[in-house]
Symmetry: C2
Subunit: 643 residues, 2 copies
């Protein structure tokens, strides 16, 4: 039995609901996070992030754009970039999942209020934009490369899907369905031969088809996918690869260009492949994403080393000090990985989801939930004061958390991910239940034989112990546990298990299973082709990448002030931190920083005192005032002489 929605009715509360696939997702009505790391973030999202986003979208005028469009004077009053509508839609989607999770009547009313504003400026034929087509503006569809109209539609439809999946209807659903009909009429097989410069409509239409049961939306998604890659969009400075219009998706071997664009498109390809039973397309998508994981992903799960075009670099081109790693790319990567996990049944995709959740998505918001990283650098060389919460920063590529950005896609993307996060914790199959992420949670899973109720208790990732209790079961069922790739030495009920999927057969009511994940800090080396981190070591602990911040070092010592001892092993420090043995380094400030070793031409550095360098989770960095930071720690080499 699939958790498929029955047309528009209340059904699975899940962000992604394929009708086919090896594994079935569980809705957020079936999985409830009850506390811990992610429970805290769901609370932060509800209490801080969503209100913060609403405040800022109001303050910067993006919501008022709809008001102005309705009365016809938006041309003179419009605020924000061409895609600002989409951020209002993403905020509504966040609210919708939050209402689904908590039944909050105030948030529900807020969604309806916003929906009413939006509906008031929808054209009779369904077209909707505050940026184009209104009096005094450029005509609709006059700039497919940069106009983002279909991208905005995609997020509007996702908001409506979140409403439908959580059992609500209302204005935003009505608006989105009219937009969808307009899309079919305009861009169908016999319609205009155009695509949007930013993929997103494809994944939205595929989901809309699932939630409504209407195959026309799915087919429109496929049309957009296959139309792309034939040079429909103009050639631009970055080349058509920037928006994946250089080569048809089905002919491509690796994701390329703008990371978020590429990942959203890949997610749609998986959806289309699954729904249309297109095994070839699924293989192509999987191969492209797997290639990215093997050759173009930072240790944090971040993607993109090009700031200029927010793009993947070449294979192994991942300098930490020029890492871009946009928060939204992390979310796009999770979208793809989750779909591949469902389609293929490979729980291993949960590894990259976990890594990206902890080290990108959780890193973006500040501890107070009122400022965000857009880019997630792995190396910050200059301390900078934390930005105030009162000022929007235009510099989205900064590695400072800022309360809002001119391009502010990330905060609402984090919000919708947090609000629907429970949907990523587990799956079901004909045989039983698969636990993919470990968090304190209550699960109610409808199997063919009846309902299984599980309770998961854990302080993971602060503690490696996970207790899974079976409160209800119709009989024996299979429980699959994802053992992360790094978890050498994991144990289930006291017995060592290997990384991968650990299957427990014959699980019945009353059984308690104990999983112990090894959280000793570990020393991680990069592939030697990642040239920029040659001679350095990262320290990880469980799913957490650790980092060194100058605020944790003695006064006057920056993160370039030490190198770790050769072969040094990190030691645990507290629940999530570590320390590692290092030597202070004194640098010679030469007029020219290149020369023969030891010739005094700048290459040399002298060793000083021994020091234990404290390391802390990367997700928490930058929350304690101005600091420098690095993930990859240099290891003392032969070029450093003892003085």
């Amino acid at each position: 039995m699939h958790q498929q929605s029955d047309s528009l009715g209340r059904a699975a509360f899940m962000p992604v609901a394929p009708s086919e696939g090896a594994l079935r997702p569980l809705g957020i009505d079936s999985v409830r996070i009850t506390g811990g790391f992610w429970g805290h973030r769901q609370q932060l999202n509800r209490e801080a992030i969503i209100p913060h986003a609403l405040k800022w979208e109001t303050k910067v005028g993006w919501i008022d754009n709809f008001v102005h469009a309705a009365v016809g004077d938006v041309a003179g009053h419009r605020q924000g970039r061409e895609f600002s509508d989409s951020d209002v839609y993403k905020l509504i989607e966040s609210m919708a999942w939050e209402v689904g999770r908590t039944d909050d009547p105030e948030l529900d009313a807020e969604i309806e209020r916003l929906g009413t504003l939006i509906e008031a400026c929808q054209c009779d034929d369904g077209y909707l934009s505050t940026r184009f087509g209104n009096p005094g503006q450029e005509p609709r569809y006059s700039d497919f490369a940069w106009g983002h109209e279909l991208y905005c539609y995609g997020h509007l439809i996702q908001a409506a899907i979140a409403r439908m999946r959580t059992g609500y209807q209302g204005t935003i659903v009505r608006v989105a369905l009219r937009v969808a009909e307009h899309l079919l009429a305009t861009f169908g097989e016999d319609g205009r031969d155009d695509i949007c410069g930013h993929p997103e409509i494809e994944v939205a239409l595929a989901e809309l088809s699932r939630v409504t049961g209407d195959p026309r939306y799915l087919e429109q998604a496929r049309i957009f996918l296959d139309r792309r890659g034939n040079g429909i969009l103009p050639d631009i400075e970055f080349g058509r690869a920037y928006y994946q219009d250089d080569e048809p998706f089905r002919d491509s071997t690796i994701l390329r260009g703008h990371c978020v664009r590429a990942l959203y498109l890949c997610a749609a390809a998986v959806d289309i492949a699954v729904e249309q039973g297109d095994a070839g397309l699924l293989r192509v998508a999987q191969k492209q994403y797997d290639a990215i994981l093997a050759r173009r992903t930072y240790i944090t799960g971040g993607m993109g080393s090009h700031h200029q075009d927010e793009a993947f670099g070449d294979d192994f081109e991942m300098p930490p000090d020029r890492s871009y790693c946009e928060t939204c790319a992390g979310i796009g990567s999770i979208m793809v990985a989750w779909r591949l996990l469902l389609a293929t049944g490979e729980l291993g995709y949960g590894d990259i989801i976990e890594r990206t959740l902890y080290n990108i998505v959780a890193t973006s918001p500040s501890a107070q939930g009122n400022a965000f990283f857009y880019a997630n650098t792995l190396h910050r060389r200059t301390p900078a004061a934390q930005s105030t919460v009162d000022e929007a920063l235009p510099r989205a590529s900064s590695s400072l958390r800022a309360p809002w950005f001119e391009v502010s896609c990330c905060p609402t993307n984090v919000a919708r991910t947090f609000a629907s996060l429970a949907g990523l914790l587990a799956t079901s199959s004909d045989e039983g239940v698969q636990l993919v992420q470990y968090a304190s949670a209550e699960l109610a899973v409808d199997l063919a034989s009846g309902c299984v109720r599980l309770s998961v208790e854990t302080n993971y990732p602060d503690d490696g112990r996970v207790l899974i209790s079976v409160a209800e079961a119709p009989g024996a069922f299979v429980l699959d546990l994802r053992i992360p790739g790094w978890a050498q030495g994991a144990m289930v009920d006291g017995h060592a298990v290997s990384p991968g999927t650990h299957r427990i057969e014959g699980v019945t009511v009353g059984r308690t299973i104990s999983l112990q994940l090894p959280l000793e800090p570990r020393r991680t080396l990069p592939d030697s082709r990642i040239d920029a981190v040659r001679g350095t070591v990262a320290v990880e602990r469980g799913p957490l990448v650790l980092c060194s911040e100058s605020v944790d070092l003695p006064d006057g010592i920056g993160i370039d002030g030490y190198e770790i001892e050769p072969g040094a092993q990190p030691r645990a420090d507290g629940d999530t931190g570590a320390v590692i043995a290092a030597r202070l380094i004194t640098h010679e400030n030469a007029a020219w920083p290149y020369g023969a070793a030891g010739a005094g031409a700048g290459a040399g550095a002298g060793r000083g005192d021994a020091i234990d360098v404290p390391l802390a989770p990367y997700y928490a960095w930058g929350n304690r005032g101005p600091t420098t930071m690095r993930v990859w720690l240099p290891e003392l080499g032969a070029d450093v002489t003892t003085r």
Copy 2:
């Protein structure tokens, strides 16, 4: 006696002519390059680069913009970016130096033809632009941040200065002087409080003051310099540091933001300091530039690791695979270094000029002079076919040579530098002559006591032997030789000399001096704070940085296919190349490229056969078809196991 121009008359043929300073420049009428490396490039410039630039500026419509502006219909016909006028002016400047060098009547006529087109669209009050102020266009001076009107004026004035300095007048001089009067009337101390988003007008006005003897232009340059840094221009995505409007120049400690902008402004600051006797300003400029050399300059002399804003990175943030190193930034760096050399008498600034000339300026044009690097990467990971000579590339940040760019500042910057290059070879002082760069040349230097004629013969940098013969001298004079910082073991007349300035007193007619510069390839290590090149080695030979190209490696071996033996010393190969001992490396293609060493998680690589890796001059790379390339060579480390 200074080689100062007598108002508008024929005088010193030199790009820079300070009225004060420790050393005096020599004009291109005093120094003639007679062959060798730079003689070849001057010939290439004359026969290929300048005609190529004229062909392209015609083809892409930038010259026709002036024709349209004259008849009033440019709004509907304009081609190119907002600053395209400047590239026409830079082309004229190149031609002007070339006419000064060769008295070519056809080029002279071409300059006059272009000048006439330009003059036809100059407004009565001196204003001139094909981009603003014409019917149907935005009003003049409506966008100081991005409009580039004053930047264009600067290059127009530089073209006029080149004409005046080479003894010509004509239309372009008349046009430029009218523009200059317009500038004084509009932007003077009591005029509008604006500055241009791209510095350039400052350095042009300072030189115009020198060539005309009119101090008002110098004062206007100072006004622009001191007005800057007070937040006059709008805040933008990259911050006001992008165009150096974040902090007054006199308060700054390091160049920052867009490299070309920062360097052009710094050059102007030196000019203003020298002409106004402002020792404090000179110290500030020198300190800022010296800081850049010590902390933000690539081994090639290239500057800028940020593609997005074409900016310097933080200190030591110089990943080779994200190096930008715009050709124009190299030229801007030479402009600053040359001015500092003249002002301070420190011949050591000739080191960075030499390094940048060979490894940036000479690298930009293809061997045929019909395609150019805009960016000069130190690491190219993917082979790409050389672009055709028929197609302009919009992608100025590519590491492919292209015949033309949408932003095509670099080709004409190279052209004007090559045409006026003789002016950078030597200087004079009251005591005698200083040889700064070594090239086959004839010099005629007017000292107070009379004329010194020198002949320099050399095949440098293919050969380290430089013969300097004194053909004429009024008596004994002093000859200073710049011994490059890398030249440990240099000899003069068979005696070892140290890097720095080597002074030879009492030089008289008939004397021949033999300088021997050591050109053995040498192993160079980076400052350990340049994290991205940790564990790697560069090989240099004389002033040349060498590199490894995959076209020189066995079939199927890329530049990531070997690592050099620990401590390997390069050996000479031919006149300019080298070989270095290495081992082939086999990489394990893991699904995830991070893991414990030797744990099979992607970090490991296996050693294979020994191989001698050929290295060739960086300036010549990319001339032999698709290739990958790297300057910094990885050295085998402990993480690589022998298999």
